[in-house]
Symmetry: C2
Subunit: 203 residues, 2 copies
């Protein structure tokens, strides 16, 4: 018997088809109800499994969305890891983590697909907006304090989206050709400036 200790484990008989049923139900729910409107409970019911099993496999609604959209990583995990760095290193940590995640095989195509959908129709834009708000904006803003926390978090996220667009979609030469080693310190300093523009939230 195979036991699973990680969300990506679980190779007992039927696990693969169960996961496929969950992902299919999740895609349908995210498309019909957008991100905010979809629930783990509803998706579990549609896939005829226990909600606890969905959480066991995917950790959270955020993780389930990333898996349903074929993202090889959960942007929420990338952000959480970067925010674990000391405050004065978070810009650099976020730049390095985001740029590295995009270089992973398959990531670029999926992120470009999400961006392409978002510019093509409002429903896709809403889905992406709601997901990014939960996975990126809220955790970044929660690390800060004061009335500008959400705005500086949004500006930092917008910069990451712009780099993704300019480097991987518009393929603007100097950015498309730059190495991670060249990019990370410059982008990190710009992101750090946003972290420094609002007081830190008490631990």
């Amino acid at each position: 018997m195979v036991t699973s200790s990680t969300p990506r484990g679980g190779r007992r008989p039927g696990a693969t088809s169960t996961r496929a049923a969950i992902l299919a139900a999740a895609r349908a729910a995210f498309f019909e109800r957008s991100y905010d409107g979809a629930t783990i409970r509803g998706i579990a019911a549609a896939a005829a499994v226990d909600p606890a099993l969905v959480l066991h496999y995917y950790g959270s609604k955020r993780g389930l969305f990333a898996a349903a959209m074929d993202l090889p990583f959960d942007p929420g995990d990338v952000v959480a890891a970067a925010l674990a760095a000391p405050r004065e290193e978070r810009g650099l940590a976020l730049a390095r983590a985001a740029l590295t995640a995009w270089e992973a095989p398959g990531s670029g195509e999926v992120l470009i697909g999400l961006m392409r959908s978002a510019v093509s129709d409002e429903a896709s834009a809403a889905r992406l907006r709601e997901f990014l708000t939960e996975a990126v904006l809220v955790p970044v803003a929660a690390s800060l304090e004061g009335p500008r926390a959400m705005l500086v978090a949004s500006l930092a996220m917008s910069h990451l989206m712009g780099v993704l667009f300019a480097r991987h979609i518009a393929r603007v030469g100097p950015l498309a050709d730059a190495s991670l080693a060249g990019l990370v310190p410059l982008l990190g300093a710009a992101l750090q400036q946003y972290f420094d523009a609002a007081p830190e939230a008490p631990a």
Copy 2:
């Protein structure tokens, strides 16, 4: 008799249809040959006018492209105006100029259309990349010195594109709702950091 002293003047008989012919020829050329491959001379020939008249009406290939794409402003003019500010105020000047230009009636829709085309097909992406390189990247990089000039200029431009995407396309709440007065100082500081990351070019 009406005389014209500005590129947008010229209301003598036939001027309107001449301008329409030039714009039609320009659109065809930009779509067939992309931005870099199109020439004022070739566009003038296709419209059966003198190249000097094209320059009289539109100032430059850059200005002609902006007019042909229905942009209510030429991004190159926005950048040039911002670069005329003292070095330590350029980030703020560029943030204010870009955000203000996007708010102008009709601007947002056209810019979103250009971005939408760029994510949809490679030919549009190439056209946008070539235009932005000439209108934004090269002048910004020319105001700086050293091996990182083009890279920091690209990062600054990518941030502007990201704000455009997050504020007007994905409509991420805090950014979509922010006032110019709230946004300009924060975005300006981030852009200024890029200007400060490379030495200034000698005047």
